[in-house]
Symmetry: C2
Subunit: 290 residues, 2 copies
């Protein structure tokens, strides 16, 4: 049993922290910017709630963080009431936020200076994966730090792999999101085309769903996309944020992302239409003319 | 046992016609524009070779056609030496070519006028699917005509479904290709990004290959795309032709295809670089700057 702090009880962090306590039997202290949510969490799971990231992190062997973006991570990690100020030597800070590789390298550097371990560990699998403990965890950092953290991460991982040095987890998540949005846009154009052509889409999917066009998105989203159901899943706001990170990083590494850049603009259009909270499959809405 | 004609012994038609004879035990007469290929086919499988589509189609219960494009189909179907001129009343013309929905409706109309049956039945699954008899067959036409043809089509089909009236097979194939190229382009951008970011792509795929980014293309093409192997599979020339058909049809039905239209231009670029015969996954080549 370890002492664990979990900072950020959003749709992902809330159930993830729960697994650490319920499945892992760890002593979990939570912190959330909105304290009501931390109180709700302790009522549901037990454990303790702290008033600041710093107090949450005191005595913790592992400090997990799962918040919105680079700025959120900096605000909970740094400063007088930040987690780093409270952590003991040898403890490990694990960032599950999807954030920039630059931030990951910066956190890694700061952690080293303080004698802490650091892992960037963004996840895939969404809210349902977090709830069922079946996330994909993409990790950047040192091998010995990863080895110590892996048994804890496995409490909510379907797969958990060390990809390379600090930042590699974030870069891997970027590869994931770039692939995902290409699939979604192609699927959106294909489904909308088929619908406008008057095809029986159930029959269409019965054939094309078995060949070279298949994808997780096709299998899991074609029906909801055609039905216009988008009040679930991974919000377009978050996808646009993630693609923004990809585009910034692509300027660093020189990769060209012509379609990803276009789709980032499509999500801006979804947002402008009030769909920021819609699932990222709502790109199909932009194609409907009626 | 039926009398069957097969016109067009390309990489798809050659093994498909073989299944009709070997697996189905049908009496197969083949025709190919280049007669040497027809001679090779009869040496390999038996059956007969005809000098014109018309003579191939005489006495046939089913006349199959698998050629390059709309114009090729018209040239083997119409005219004095065309298949329609030789077909007996009640025989069925089945077009496996990926062609326009307009052509399918035109063939259907002409066939009706002559008391023939017609099915548009483009396939997916590529050369390997044709060889193993595991194609996806997307069919447009009348139900009673489909029911008569299905046992024969099943000789090389993994799945074979009637989607709707004449043209529906072609439109379904278009949906398939639109979805495929979105997946390929997203995958190309993701893989190229990851490589430029210095990631160990085998490790990256071990995680992202299990979640929302997965696709048939990712599973079957990520290694060949990164290795630059494109001397196999479905040629970029053919994919560009198929996307051209989609874009024409989209003007008819009003569907917007912003990314598909862009990718059609990317294939034009692949062709301009001499890659017309490269597999359609070669879109990744356009992203490499070195």
């Amino acid at each position: 049993m370890a002492n664990v702090a979990f900072i950020g009880l959003g749709v992902m962090g809330y159930p993830m922290a729960g697994h650490l306590l319920k499945k892992g039997g760890h002593a979990v202290t939570v912190y959330n910017r909105t304290p009501e949510k931390a109180a709700r969490w302790t009522r549901e799971y037990g454990g303790r709630a702290a008033q600041t990231p710093r107090t949450a992190a005191q005595d913790a062997d592992f400090v997990f963080c799962c918040v919105g973006n680079d700025q959120d991570v900096r605000s909970i990690a740094y400063g007088d009431s930040g987690a780093f100020a409270g952590m003991k030597k040898g403890a490990i800070f694990i960032d599950h936020t999807t954030a920039s590789a630059t931030l990951a390298r910066e956190l890694d550097q700061r952690a080293r200076e303080q004698g802490l371990g650091f892992l960037d560990a963004p996840v895939s699998g969404g809210q349902s994966g977090a709830q069922s403990g079946q996330l994909g965890v993409m990790v950047g950092g040192e091998a010995d730090v990863f080895d110590r953290a892996k048994p804890v991460l496995d409490l909510y991982a379907r797969s958990c792999a060390l990809i390379g040095p600090a930042g590699s987890g974030q870069l891997t998540k970027m590869v994931n999101q770039i692939c995902v949005v290409g699939v979604i846009q192609g699927l959106a154009e294909g489904l909308n085309f088929g619908r406008r052509a008057g095809l029986d889409m159930e029959k269409v999917l019965s054939v094309i769903g078995k060949g070279a066009a298949t994808s997780w998105q096709m299998e899991n989203r074609w029906q909801t996309m055609l039905a216009g159901q988008f009040d679930f899943g991974f919000a377009s706001d978050w996808m646009r944020k993630d693609l923004g990170i990809c585009l910034v990083e692509a300027k660093v590494n020189g990769a060209r992302l012509p379609v990803t850049a276009l789709i980032e603009q499509f999500y801006a259009h979804v947002q402008a239409r009030g769909g920021g909270r819609w699932d990222s499959s709502s790109l199909i809405n932009l194609l409907a003319q009626d």
